[in-house]
Structure formats: structure tokens, C-alpha cells
């Protein structure tokens, strides 16, 4: 690995100030929560950071607490802590399932909630050093290239897919993200944290370079809310989602009163299926309703030459997810 400097941060405020200072000195800082992906990118040369702001020495923003306003999850909570937390398992089962589906125990033991949602795309062009939009270039090489794992929704000019499993769950639960920067804190709804390439072709979210995702607050789900995360992979374990379906449904008996269905792995941001949500409202969850929800889920999809398999895959995954939440 090339020579670099590790700076231990003592607090979130210390970390963002340090990052701003490093930038002011003309160097490139990168925050490291678990560092699982960052170190790989530095070794590969796809991340230019020469100063790592180490967050493992930060003792705050690690809590997972249930309070009056909902469940508060520190950005530095590890995925292992999230999947094992009793309140998360009881109140937000989709989040526990999504966290448990990430990578391997070795990754989940250090990888953080914030890092999982701000990890860079896994497009093979970007990861192999192509000067694409994500690397600051002017081209998306997948358009006329190997695009089997690329976006069927929301693509252009870049066609990456958002890789996080927990992000669509937090969008579905309508979480609030608290961002900390050198000039203070701000709050952003989860759905507005992620940005399409047509808005910003380089960055996947609204974070400034010296800002951190410090905390996530998930409002307590109303009574009779059920949820799940269903992940389809191209092998049985240890990879990203071909498609992941975060489904949060509020039921009255077996009738849907309110639904959120948000996808991972098919769009540059967690992709909300509003047409499916509207279709489900007021209907009982039957096999036929679930099948129709699956059909509706791919309306408006724009597949590339080599990713058409994601259409039937999306329909099937949405159908199974919805039917899986039918009352007992």
C-alpha cells in the first residue's frame, strides 16, 4: 500500500474538523468506520485518499436505542450489532435481515451502518480503474459494454446500482438521517439522502466531503406493521444483491392499509415502487394480489442489453416478498 497517514479521531466533531483541515491543506481525506472497502480501494488505486480519518477511536454514534421518537442507530454501529439488537429484531425485522445478509461475519464485525450506505458502487468498470463518471470522468462504460449487473431503473448518465442492503430498508421505514459536518448538523429524510446520477453523476448521496452520516432515527412503526428484506444473489452467499426487496406493510387483519416497497441492486439509488405501494393499499394479501404486485413492479423499467434477466427476477422477488407478509 502507498504511504498514508492515519489520524485517530476522538469524536464526530473532531473527525469532521480534521477532514476539513486536511482538505484545506490540499490533501485528500477519507473517513474510515470499518475500513473494509476503503482499504481495498486504496490498495487498488481507485480511492486517492492519502489521509485516513480513523473513526474506530470515536466512542459516540455507536448506540442502538429505542426511545419515544423511535429507534436511534449510531452511524458507527456495526452491522453485527444491528442484526443482533433485540429492539431491531423485534421492531424492524427487515433491517435485521438486511444487515445479516451483508458480506461475511468478518465484514459485519467491523463494517458500520454509515459505511454500508456510503460505500462506492461495485460496477466492474469503476472498480477496475476506468475513468468513468464515478471516477470523475465523462463516460459510463457499461452503456455499450458489460452491463449485466447494471441499472434497470433510474439510470443515466451513469448506470451503477446502489449496493447497500440496509439502505432500501431505511427508506422504506422513512428514517431520518442526521449528518454532521464542520459547520454543524443537518437532518435529511432517507429518501432524499441518495441522489440519482442525473442530479450528481459522481456522488451517490448528498454528503459533502467533510460530512459524516452520524445517526439514523427510525420512527417507531405503527402497530400491525410487518416487514421483510428478501435478497436474490447470483450465488448462495457472500455477495451483493442482484435484487433486494425491502417491504414494510401495515396491515388491518390481512388487508394492507399502507405499504412501502423499495429495491436494492436495480437502480443507482434505493428504488421506491410507488405504483406497487398504491396498488397494494386496501387489498388483502393473496397469491393473486402478490402476483399482480410483481407484474406492476417492472413498469417503466429500462433494461440495458445484458440485464433483462432482472425484469422477471424483480417481479418474482416482489411477489414473494409481498406474499411472505400475508397474515398467518
Amino acid at each position: 500500500m502507498r504511504a498514508l497517514i492515519n489520524l485517530d479521531a476522538n469524536s464526530i466533531s473532531d473527525a469532521v474538523q480534521a477532514a476539513a483541515q486536511v482538505r484545506a491543506e490540499g490533501r485528500i481525506a477519507a473517513f474510515s468506520g470499518g475500513g473494509t472497502d476503503l482499504l481495498q480501494q486504496i490498495k487498488d488505486g481507485t480511492d486517492p485518499a492519502d489521509v485516513i480519518v480513523n473513526l474506530r477511536t470515536v466512542n459516540e454514534a455507536r448506540e442502538i436505542e429505542e426511545g419515544a421518537g423511535g429507534i436511534s442507530i449510531g452511524g458507527l454501529a456495526t452491522l453485527t450489532r444491528v442484526m443482533e439488537n433485540a429492539a431491531v429484531r423485534a421492531r424492524l425485522p427487515a433491517l435485521a435481515q438486511a444487515a445479516e445478509s451483508v458480506g461475511t461475519p468478518q465484514i459485519r464485525n467491523v463494517a458500520t451502518v454509515a459505511g454500508n450506505m456510503t460505500q462506492r458502487p461495485w460496477c466492474w468498470y469503476y472498480r477496475n480503474g476506468f475513468n468513468c463518471f464515478k471516477a470523475g470522468g465523462e463516460e459510463c462504460f457499461s452503456v455499450n459494454g458489460e452491463n449485466g449487473q447494471h441499472a434497470i431503473f433510474g439510470g443515466g448518465p451513469s448506470f451503477i446500482v446502489h449496493p447497500s442492503d440496509i439502505a432500501p430498508v431505511l427508506v422504506a421505514f422513512e428514517a431520518i438521517f442526521q449528518l454532521a459536518g464542520p459547520d454543524g448538523e443537518r437532518e435529511v429524510p432517507a429518501a432524499e439522502f441518495f441522489v440519482l446520477p442525473r442530479v450528481d453523476p459522481v456522488n451517490e448521496n448528498v454528503l459533502d466531503e467533510s460530512e459524516l452520516l452520524a445517526r439514523i432515527v427510525v420512527p417507531s412503526p405503527p402497530e400491525n406493521t410487518v416487514s421483510s428484506y428478501y435478497k436474490v444473489m447470483d450465488r448462495a452467499a457472500w455477495t451483493h444483491a442482484e435484487i433486494g426487496v425491502a417491504t414494510v406493510i401495515r396491515r388491518d387483519g390481512n388487508a394492507v392499509t399502507d405499504a412501502r416497497v423499495v429495491l436494492s441492486g436495480v437502480a443507482p439509488i434505493p428504488w421506491r415502487l410507488r405504483a406497487v405501494e398504491e396498488f397494494l393499499a386496501g387489498k388483502p394479501i393473496t397469491a393473486e394480489v402478490a402476483r399482480e404486485a410483481g407484474e406492476i413492479s417492472i413498469e417503466g423499467a429500462q433494461p440495458l442489453a445484458k440485464n433483462r434477466h432482472k425484469l422477471p427476477m424483480t417481479s418474482a422477488a416482489v411477489e414473494r416478498s409481498v406474499f411472505g407478509l400475508a397474515a398467518g
Partner: protein
């Protein structure tokens, strides 16, 4: 190495640094490597280092406990924990396979939890308790898990074995009698190019006192 001819006592004696012996395979390889390196890159003064040392590279002094022994050691900020263990402390049981957090050969326990040591900077281990495969045997006795690996022929080429052992050790400490499915879930981050997964899972289950149906 086959289990029917494996004798831990003999094996230990063979690696006892105080025992009179012919040069070990490692010493032989390092000597050979030094010759090759010297003929191409004269600045490779320390053949045991995986990379050239750089006097200008930022350094930090850390305190890390490895298998119960505390080390106060100056590291380059860019060193991974795997490089510190192997090149800085000389514990070469931890293997570097992919060096990109994918294969699991470098798995060690950090404060009790399995991590990829190639994916941690050594400086991040400041203050941590690290356990490596060298720390599993106690008083010259292999751990029950290691014994089960021997009996069940879990290692083939053996390169992934240290990492498999560390992930399985963490599993057994949390779940003393795991099922085969629990063993598979715990070992999902440890790849075996020999594809000897069934024997590895059988060994882990056997170490917990169970049997794979």
C-alpha cells in the same frame, strides 16, 4: 499430511526454534527470496518484509496484545494488521491470500470477533486483543477444534486452515455445540480453494460434540 500419520508432538518438535534441525522451509524460501531480490532490487535489505520499508512513511507506535503477549511496536501507518503479525511480529501462521478482504485466510480474532487482518490497518489494533492461530494450542496441546480438524481431514492444502480455525473458534465460543448450518453461516467468509467444505463443517460440528447427519 494425513491424519493417520500426523503426530502433534512430532510436528511441534519440528518447529521448535531451539531444537537442532536443518533449515526450515521458511528459512530456505526467505534465503532464496533474498538472493532473487538482491539481484533485482538492491534496496530490499530485509527479506522478511513483504514490502520495502520507507523511512519517510508515517509511523505510529502502538500497543497490541497478540495471544496474550503485549507488543509495543512502531508500525508504518499503511501496514495492515496481517503485515504486522507476519512481518513485524513473526507470526506467519496468519496467511495472506487475496489481500483484499475476500478469501478469509488472514482471519484473526480482534477483541474476540473474527476480522480480516488484511483489511485492518495495524494502527487500528492499538489497544486491541488479537488472537491468531498460534494462540490456539495450550501447553503443547492442540485445541479440541484443531484436533477435530486433524481427525476429520479438514485441511487439504492447509492454506485456508488458520483462517477457518479462527472463525470456527469464535463460533464455538459463542455457540459451544453448533449445528452444521450454524457452522456454514459462521464460515461463509472463509474460502477453501480445495473445496473441502464438507470436512471442515464436519470438524467444526464434531468439535462441538455433535455429528453431521
Amino acid at each position: 499430511m494425513h491424519s493417520d500419520s500426523f503426530d502433534p508432538a512430532t510436528e511441534r518438535q519440528a518447529v521448535d526454534p531451539d531444537a537442532p534441525q536443518s533449515p526450515s522451509r521458511r528459512e530456505f524460501l526467505e534465503t532464496t527470496g533474498a538472493t532473487v531480490a538482491a539481484s533485482t532490487v538492491a534496496s530490499f535489505a530485509t527479506p522478511a518484509m513483504a514490502q520495502p520499508t520507507d523511512a519517510a512513511a508515517p509511523r505510529t507506535t502502538i500497543s497490541v496484545s497478540v495471544n496474550g503477549v503485549r507488543h509495543e511496536i512502531e508500525v508504518e501507518d499503511r501496514w495492515t494488521l496481517a503485515e504486522l503479525l507476519r512481518d513485524g511480529i513473526g507470526l506467519t501462521g496468519t496467511k495472506i491470500g487475496c489481500d483484499r478482504g475476500e478469501c478469509g485466510a488472514c482471519t484473526v480474532l480482534m477483541n474476540g470477533a473474527p476480522v480480516y487482518s488484511c483489511g485492518q490497518l495495524a494502527v487500528w489494533a492499538d489497544g486491541a486483543e488479537v488472537r491468531t492461530v498460534e494462540g490456539l494450542a495450550r501447553n503443547g496441546e492442540l485445541s479440541p477444534l484443531q484436533q477435530a480438524f486433524v481427525v476429520n481431514n479438514a485441511p487439504q492444502c492447509g492454506f485456508c486452515t488458520p483462517g477457518q480455525l479462527m472463525s470456527a473458534t469464535a463460533l464455538l465460543e459463542a455457540t459451544p455445540s453448533p449445528t452444521a448450518d450454524q457452522a456454514r453461516a459462521a464460515l461463509v467468509g472463509n474460502l477453501c480453494r480445495c473445496s473441502n467444505y464438507n470436512a471442515i463443517v464436519e470438524a467444526v460440528v464434531a468439535a462441538g460434540g455433535g455429528g453431521v447427519a
